[in-house]
């Protein structure tokens, strides 16, 4: 039997009823409060009366039809699936859940965190976490596993990767105590691999991606295999095993083409572009970045497209192809204007980068100097973006040195040095 108190509270708040509204004529307000907070066990008659007022049936047994429907919906949230089908199934399930109080409800509520995240309704995901937090102590081990995993997903989305990893590890510790199928374990391993990649734990990325891929391969899930290959490609790139990185990217791309999944294809193109850029192969880097920028379906997010186009400006600039660099700068401004979140750090960073190159390409020397000195460098300092700070401080140092302004030059070389030290200490 389910723990009834938290569910009554959940249904009551969902229907925007106060405790007074629900309790009136049935129990005292303080007694209802005790029921909701599991401080007392109410008689079946009282529970029935409360459920009647909430307009829900009290289901005692297991509804296998409902369980099966839930299972289908949960699976949709794990794989590449059409959004409209996910929403339709959710609505159908919610309708069934609203009518009765049953064993599947709590798991359904926990999965809503994942549901809101995949639909990018981040505020709703957070509200659901806060709402469920109060009843987390009554979760069984399986529910606790999903609770930790989905909360981890939330932190992955907000960029708090250490916090996310902490929760994924708690979930991982529970795997042996619960009955879950291997695709679920593979999904957790994949998630841990992605998070390790964000945290630069390269060897762990490889370990977990391989573990996940073993299972995805067995199930012929090529898209998930492709995603694992991308993670492996990034890791081998970071440890400078370029051949292995390229091999993994090509495998990912091949699988993406096989499944006609443009997201996978463009993600691979982007990472290949970056790899060739870091090894100094500008021609190949440009080729792959252009695939991303010219993708009409705009399969990868705006952040990815901005990275690709600013990289193209750099590559063309380095090749002294100023005409193409200017063309890309203009295109970059158009993409930038489409960016929905102007407070986002990356939006601001790209905006500074594009402006810096625009001044350089237009020969606006004074504007370039004052922009980098008075705006860009302070911005990088404020955001502790040490990598870019070293780069642009050094560039300004060079600029002043060549112009005979040695005092100014020393100032920026010093900044570059101290920033470099800061970076090493991170």
């Amino acid at each position: 039997m389910i723990e009834i108190g938290p569910f009554i509270k959940l249904q009551r708040t969902k229907q925007e009823m106060t405790q007074g509204d629900l309790a009136e004529g049935i129990v005292s307000l303080s007694y209802l409060s005790k029921i909701e907070n599991k401080k007392t066990e109410a008689s079946p008659e009282i529970i029935q009366l409360l459920c009647n007022r909430l307009g829900i049936e009290l289901s005692d047994g297991v509804d296998s039809n409902l369980e099966e429907k839930c299972k289908q919906w949960y699976e949709m949230l794990y794989d590449v699936y059409d959004k409209t089908k996910i929403i339709a199934t959710y609505k159908e399930l919610q309708g069934m859940m609203d009518k009765s109080l049953n064993d599947s409800l709590l798991m359904f509520e926990i999965h809503k965190i994942r549901y809101y995240l995949v639909l990018r309704q981040i505020d709703k995901a957070l509200s659901k976490i806060n709402e469920l937090n109060e009843m987390a102590s009554s979760f069984n081990i399986t529910q606790h596993y999903y609770w930790c995993k989905f909360k981890g997903n939330y932190y992955s989305h907000t960029g708090e990767f250490n916090q996310a990893m902490h929760l994924y590890k708690i979930a991982e510790d529970k795997i042996n105590q619960i009955d879950i199928d291997e695709t679920e374990i593979a999904d957790l391993h994949y998630t841990i691999s992605v998070t390790n990649s964000k945290l630069r734990n390269t060897l762990e990325v490889i370990d977990y991606a391989n573990k996940a891929m073993d299972i995805f391969q067995k199930n012929y899930n090529f898209i998930r295999c492709a995603q694992c290959h991308i993670l492996l490609g990034i890791s081998y790139h970071r440890i400078k095993m370029y051949d292995k990185a390229i091999k993994n990217y090509n495998l990912a791309k091949h699988l993406g083409e096989l499944e006609k999944n443009n997201q996978v294809i463009q993600l691979t193109n982007h990472n290949l572009g970056y790899l060739y850029s870091t090894v100094g192969n500008a021609k190949e880097a440009i080729k792959y970045y252009l695939f991303v920028v010219e993708d009409e379906e705009e399969s990868i997010n705006i952040n990815g497209r901005l990275t690709a186009i600013t990289s193209l400006i750099q590559e063309y600039y380095n090749l002294k192809n100023y005409e193409r660099a200017s063309e890309m700068a203009e295109k970059a401004k158009i993409i930038l204007n489409k960016a929905y979140d102007k407070d986002n750090h990356y939006y601001q960073l790209y905006s500074y980068l594009i402006q810096t190159y625009t001044y350089a390409l237009n020969n606006e020397e004074e504007k370039f100097k004052s922009f980098v000195t008075d705006e860009f460098i302070p911005y990088l300092k404020h955001h502790e973006d040490y990598g870019n700070l070293v780069l642009y401080a050094k560039m300004l140092g060079n600029y002043f040195e060549e112009n005979g302004k040695y005092k100014e030059s020393v100032k920026y070389y010093k900044l570059a040095n101290s920033t470099y030290n800061e970076l090493i200490n991170l």
Binding site: Y78, G387, V390
Partner: protein
């Protein structure tokens, strides 16, 4: 200005800078990992 940059080895600085950046913890925007949830959501639907 373009010529000035060339003499300043501007491009060399940039290339060196980005190679340098690629090995540090600030290159998050350069490599792009797949998402932790892989449901297909075309950008136009978001």
């Amino acid at each position: 200005m373009k010529k000035l940059f060339a003499t300043l080895s501007f491009s060399a600085v940039l290339v060196a800078g980005f190679v340098f950046v690629s090995d540090q913890s600030t290159d998050s925007a350069m490599n792009m990992e797949p998402e932790v949830y892989s449901v297909e959501l075309p950008t136009s639907q978001l």
